[in-house]
Structure formats: C-alpha cells, structure tokens
Symmetry: C2
Subunit: 272 residues, 2 copies
C-alpha cells in the first residue's frame, strides 16, 4: 500500500487506528480455545468486528512464534483474512546484517504478503536498506519506544542529540516519506513536537495508547500533520475488552470509541 492510498483510507474511514493483533494465549476466551486454531479464530473474529473502523492491523510475531511452527500458519491465515485496503504491519522488530535482512524482507513481504515491518536500527544502514528496496512497502524503524527500558539507551545524549533523534536523522537519508515510518511511543507524547520539527511529513506509528496509558488527544496535538501522519496502535484495550462470549462485540465497541475520538481529532486538525 502506498502513501497516497494510506492517506485516502484515513480520510475515508475517518480513522488512524491501528489494531495490534497480540493474541495472548492466557487471555483468549475459553470458548475460542475450544475451536480449531484458536489463535487464528480469535484474530478472525476481531478482524470481522473491527475492519471498518481501523486502517491497519499489526500482528506481533512473538504471540505467533510462541506456538511453534503452527503459530506461523496461524499468522499466515490471519493475514489472508484481513480485507484489502488495510495496511498490514508485521511487528517483528527484526534487525540483522545485509544478506540476512534480505531474507527477513523476503519472508515478510513476499511469503506472508505484509505491507510493512517494524525494524530495529541498532545494526545500522545495511540492516535496514534491504527492507526499503521493496516498492509500495514500508519499513517502520524503532525510534522512541513506549517501554521503561527506552531510557537506557534511546534517551542518552549521542554527540549532541538523543540516540532516538540520531536514529531518525541518520535513517531519513536511507529512505523517504514513501517507504519509511518511525515508532514513537505515546507515553512520551510531548516529545512528538520536536520529532515533528525533525520529520514534518513522515508517518509515525504510535503505540502505548490505551492499556499503556498514553493520551490520544495529546498524540494528535503534538503529532498530527496535514495528512494525519499518525497510526495510533491499540492492542489489549480492544482485544481483551471482554474475555467472555461477547469479546468481539466489546472489541468493536472500544474500536468505535477510539474511531469516534479520532474522527473529531482529524476534523479539528484540518485533515478531513
């Protein structure tokens, strides 16, 4: 999916919601666990209940890999049941040297057919550029993450700028606004203002809203640009809004709540 189509989808759906598909086995409703391939079935019902409200799905590989090889079958089936026109992001946080990165790119972009993948910047340029070589696909680089450990290295001063700022400044030379996005955690929403000065046009993938406590209005205030420029992710707050028979309906209700707030923010921000 290219940038033009992504922006149009945001305007059409009046939403910049990304739903994180983190099918945590310990939280999947018991009645779903009784069905064949519960991981897939849980995702399928979530997707069926929410696909008109979001513009992206972001399955996190850890939840699939934890099931062994069969979990990757569930991953593939999950991707296949996401309707066309919705961005699919493999939250894999891969990062390896050149020829190995190429294999990861091939796996996620070709075999699984994802539109985008999250990538770790620690190993530098040749670990990132193999992903950027795919037209109409996205590399989403970790910049400032939403976990406590982000302060260990990402917030350290690195020759005059924080490491995450250096990651952005250096990597923006490797790709363009059309194939490169950044992960910026909502728990540091005030930092979005400085990031927007640095990269006014790039899309930002923002986790940490919802269960992790970040504020959607703060994110929009500091991070929204004329094209929206934001994908705000929610996982647990939607997926596990209920653990009963009504889990999909409750997931839809929470997605509607977020989409409604997003619609107002898009209008206020002049995107609509």
């Amino acid at each position: 999916m290219n940038r033009h189509d992504l922006i149009n989808t945001i305007r059409d759906k009046r939403s910049f919601l990304c739903i994180g598909l983190d099918p945590d086995w310990s939280k999947i409703p018991e009645h779903v666990k009784a069905l064949p391939d519960p991981i897939f079935e849980f995702n399928r019902q979530i997707i069926e209940a929410t696909h008109d409200l979001c513009v992206a799905y972001k399955p996190n590989l850890a939840f699939f890999e934890a099931q062994g090889p069969s979990g990757l079958e569930s991953f593939k089936k999950t991707l296949e049941c996401i309707p066309k026109g919705i961005l699919t992001i493999a939250d894999a946080k891969r990062g390896d040297i050149g020829n190995t990165a190429s294999l990861y790119a091939k796996s996620f972009f070709e075999f699984y057919g994802c539109d985008a993948i999250t990538v770790n910047p620690y190993m530098g340029k040749d670990s990132v550029t193999p992903f950027l070589e795919y037209a109409n696909h996205w590399t989403i680089l970790l910049a400032l993450t939403s976990n406590g450990g982000a302060s260990d290295f990402q917030l350290k001063d690195t020759e005059g700028q924080m490491l995450y700022e250096r990651v952005i400044e250096t990597s923006m030379q490797w790709g363009t606004e059309d194939n490169l996005m950044y992960v910026v955690g909502a728990t540091k929403a005030s930092m979005l203002q400085a990031i927007r000065k640095q990269i006014p046009n790039h899309f930002l993938l923002v986790p940490g809203v919802g269960a992790q406590g970040g504020s959607l209005s703060e994110v929009a205030k500091y991070g929204m640009n004329k094209d929206c420029g934001l994908l705000v992710n929610a996982s647990r707050s939607i997926l596990f809004a209920s653990n009963g028979l009504d889990f999909a309906a409750k997931a839809r209700a929470e997605a509607i709540r977020m989409q409604t707030e997003m619609s107002a923010l898009l209008a206020a921000g002049g995107v609509l």
Copy 2:
C-alpha cells in the same frame, strides 16, 4: 548449559569454534535439494561432519523463516539432531517489550530447547531481563557487530563512551558472567582489548572470522582470558567450502583447520 560445562567442553575439545548454521537456499548443493526437507538435511550432514570439532552451533533464524512455517519445523529438527553437550544458540536478534520478550524467551528456550539466544539491546532493560530469568541459559547481547552499519550508531560517542561500551556497561548490571555474553565482531579485533578491560570474565561471541575477513589469532590475542572466554563463529567458510557432493567432507576439513589453530591458541593462552 552452564558456564562450568562450557569451559570444560572448550578444554576437552581444544576448540572454541561456533559453527553458524546459515542454510542459504541459493548455496545448498543441488543433490541435497533433491532430498526431503533439504534445509534440515543440509544441517544434519554438516553437524554429523563437524560436531566433534566445535563447542556451539548457531542457527540464524532468518534462513529458516524464509521458508515459511515449514522452515521452523526444519529449525526444530536441526536442534534435535545436535548432540548433547554442545551449546545451541538461536541467532534471532530479538528485542521487544517485557511481556512480548517473555514469549520469545519461552519460544526459544522452552519450545525449541535452545541454550542461548542473541538479543538486541536497543529497547533497554525490560526487553532483555525476561531472557535472563532462565537458569542455565544464555542471553547474548549485540554490542559491536561486524557489519558496516555498526558505525552508524554503535560507534557514536554516548555521554563519554561509545554506544556499544554503554550497552555493555549498563547491561552487565542486569545479568552475570553466568547468563550473559556479548556479540563483538572480529572485524574490530583491536577493540577487544578495551572490551576485555571492561568485562574481563564474560564470554564473547565473535562473528566475522573467515568469510568476513577477521583474524583468529588477532581475536585470541586481544580477547582470550584464562577460561578462553571466546566463542568464535564461522558460517559460510565452513558450510559452503564446497557446493558439490563433498560439501560435508570439505566443511569438516575447514573445521579441522580452525580447530587446529584454536588448539594452539588455547595452549599459548594458558587455557589448556
């Protein structure tokens, strides 16, 4: 495998060779590709030909994931045919927030039964400690990698020390010499001297010898300690020493060449 057993294995085998199992489809001999599960069969023959000469095997997940879910079956079968007493390292370079990191740890340490995993430090403490909670297992943190991109961030001055030095200094508080190792590329062998001052006792996993051009004697000169403290990895130079019917025999010959050199270096270093 604990530290005591690893050191004893190094002394018994007079080797600190780690063989990287990177079954690159484009380089697997044609006659192996005609067999069922060629990825596994290639690894099996390499392991059969080399297991008395090395102390560790390091399969890189990218080469298995590139085959889709069936590649993970090949990965599991590969691990199962590695003889007991040899360290198994999942070269996965994972790194994610706490609960997700726990799932990766469970997957690699419990489901696949690996002794060790490589981990990316960018997301900080809570992305690393879930791996360290497993007794008799190892977390191998990327510090200074052997690729060109290492200079983009790892070699930047970060509040008075290079980022990779800060990664080591900070993370050595999270684990111990008994559960934490570091990746230090052989292409920067001279930097091993400074790293040894910083961490005299930790094991270092050293890629980049062989096809990537690093020198084994330089690595030993700067990096060896009284327990050896080194695992030197070779992948392509062993796996693809020949692409004919004699590939396993040629792999063995190259492994013997390295083990012979390592034996002399261990004796000269006072480890034997």
